[in-house]
Subunit: 221 residues, 2 copies
């Protein structure tokens, strides 16, 4: 039996691969595991049936037999634990890869999401311009440290891992902000992630959901 994930029926990012099903799709492609996708409208995400899978009414969730988990980082880690290819065999290196998975969602992502949320929700507020440098600085602080940690290495550990997969996914949200672009090694790191065949396949699959939604909309309109 194949695992099933949930994803947006109508992705708010127009198929740019920034929705959180993307890292899960990417992880499944990296390990060669086929999967099913249950597409949900925003209304369906808030219904009890989905909240039983994902208590916060979000995507993605992941079901595989008796296994039912949520949280992008946790799903990626489950996939990595169950298949070869996303966690080093060496115990210390494996622990480092898990550390970077947490760093992605807990240290790097929050200030990036916070800055995006302000642009989305508060851009018409009188304080928006005055707060922007503060929000930029918080992203900059983390990216500067991350850039130093990566240095001229290809990946954060000796080989590509679940930690890189989550970190590249999170950094992609900052692409084009000008902040990621202050660190050429991080730009190149993201590009290396995006160039992986598994990333491309996952990207195409989630993009096909967007084009199908656009087609439905055109037909309805």
């Amino acid at each position: 039996m194949k695992p099933t994930i949930t994803a947006f029926r109508d992705s708010p990012d127009r198929g740019q691969g920034l929705a959180r099903d993307m890292p899960v799709r990417w992880a499944l492609e990296e390990v060669g595991q086929s999967y099913g996708v249950r597409l949900l409208t925003f209304a369906e995400m808030k219904e009890a049936a989905h909240r039983a899978r994902q208590p916060f009414g979000q995507i993605p969730s992941y079901e595989d037999g008796s296994l039912a988990v949520f949280e992008t980082g946790a799903i990626v880690l489950q996939i990595a634990e169950r298949h070869a290819g996303l966690l080093p065999r060496d115990e210390a290196e494996r622990a480092r890869a898990i550390t970077w998975t947490f760093a992605a969602v807990s240290t790097i992502e929050p200030p990036i999401v916070e800055r995006d949320a302000a642009i989305l929700v508060e851009s018409d507020q009188p304080w928006f311009a005055a707060r922007q440098p503060l929000l930029d600085e918080r992203v900059r602080l983390r990216l500067t440290d991350l850039s130093r940690a990566l240095g001229d290495a290809e990946w954060l550990g000796p080989t590509f891992s679940a930690g890189d997969l989550m970190m590249v996914s999170v950094l992609r949200r900052s692409s084009g902000s000008g902040l990621l672009e202050e660190h050429p090694n991080l730009v190149a790191y993201v590009a290396r992630g995006e160039a992986r065949p598994a990333f491309r396949r996952a990207f195409e699959d989630q993009y096909a959901v967007f084009t199908a939604a656009s087609r439905r909309e055109a037909e309805a309109g």
Copy 2:
């Protein structure tokens, strides 16, 4: 050989156990593993020697022989993987416990920290009062969903796990805000966590660091 963690020499929370070494101390106490503590000043946290352990110049870090990790959630998970008591044996339940660990640091903590940061950094800004309801609402949204998911259960899974340890730790930041107090089941959940003997021991140990720092300050002053 005992593992070594890092912690603040001068904790900014006056020993309330909100610093991020607290969940790590608690996890070590739960599994009965003794440990050493390297106390760092804010200046020492930013030095190269510590950044080699923790690239973002923060505490805690965790070293145990060749194992060197950071990120509170990742450290707690490493401790849980290496000792009995913090992860269920059943595979599906174990995966759920890991899911809640990620939910704590990735879904619940960011809006709580964001609200705290505004109070700390922006309370003298003209927009502070106008933004406060927005920040409250973002915390409220997550706590309402979490309260519903917990229901009248004792813990988030069938037994106390690393997921509860991280979730209680994160919710403690919201104690007294009035937002946690809107959910009596979450208040009781936090109290159950705080009543555990391992929590008490960890709390006392980190509190002793604060009293030692106060004594030094009194002697110096």
